[in-house]
Symmetry: C2
Subunit: 183 residues, 2 copies
Amino acid sequence: MRHEIILSGAGGQGLILAGAILAEAAGVFEGKEVVQTQSYGIQARGGASQSTVIISNERIHFPEVLTPDILLCLSQESYENYAPNLRNGGLLVVDQHLVDVDRLRADINLLAFPFTAEAEKMNRRIAANIIALGTLAVVTSVVKPESIAKAIPVHLPERNIATALAALDVGVEMVERIEAIPQ
Amino acid sequence: MRHEIILSGAGGQGLILAGAILAEAAGVFEGKEVVQTQSYGIQARGGASQSTVIISNERIHFPEVLTPDILLCLSQESYENYAPNLRNGGLLVVDQHLVDVDRLRADINLLAFPFTAEAEKMNRRIAANIIALGTLAVVTSVVKPESIAKAIPVHLPERNIATALAALDVGVEMVERIEAIPQ
């Protein structure tokens, strides 16, 4: 098992924080091998923001993510940037109101969720990152939502922990609603 | 200008947090190109902890740190692990009470400071990481202490910010004391 994950979006959407929480959840609370990388610079100043997380059961010798198998996009620009590199058969998860997926590659799987709209319902637009983490956890099984819940207090100030845990639940439940749709 | 920095020590010494603060300081508050990587896994479970930060004026094409030019070691184990990879002419900064530098390579520069002892004087042993960051900033000029001060509130809970800023000052002043020694 080796998953290469890119969390991407615009600056201010909290993707670097989301990457740190995901890495801590898998690395500290599930004892997996994890390498997490984030970049600041040209990309960040262009408004883009991204964090990469590699989660593996075995020692990670090559820590760079060239072709992710899991890609989260919370902005159109990040979709344009990273979707071309998604691995054949990979999973693309987008915010359905912020990303217009035209000309979808036929060889990948797409899931679209209203992460930011749900966060706005909580009056915390910034919480879309944690909602998306909850959804990703359930959809991909790379990490348990309970581990994310344990990692949240490590990375968030006390006053934001309750909201983040609620956002995590929203993300988890969003998938459960979809899975309940009769086929 | 390209600096490759490894911050290393034992688990619980806050080196991953220190790396995140350093990256934010240089990337967000000084507009430099920065790639920051941290690992969880075999190393972490062995008690070791490390964060790597690349700071550059130009786009970073190769984001892996194989031979750092700046190495901070807050534990003996991290010194044994990483010092052999330090670049020729590189700078090694250690906690003078926690690292026994025997058989020092002749081709590197060593600075030893009482980071943890100073943190204990503040009754906050965990603050040794921020003290060390302040010292590193002054010694290497890779980032301004003022930028670290701006990055601290982004990564620390409100109740710890004042202590961290005080620790930063301790680190900065520690270098100034040394530089005042007559040659």
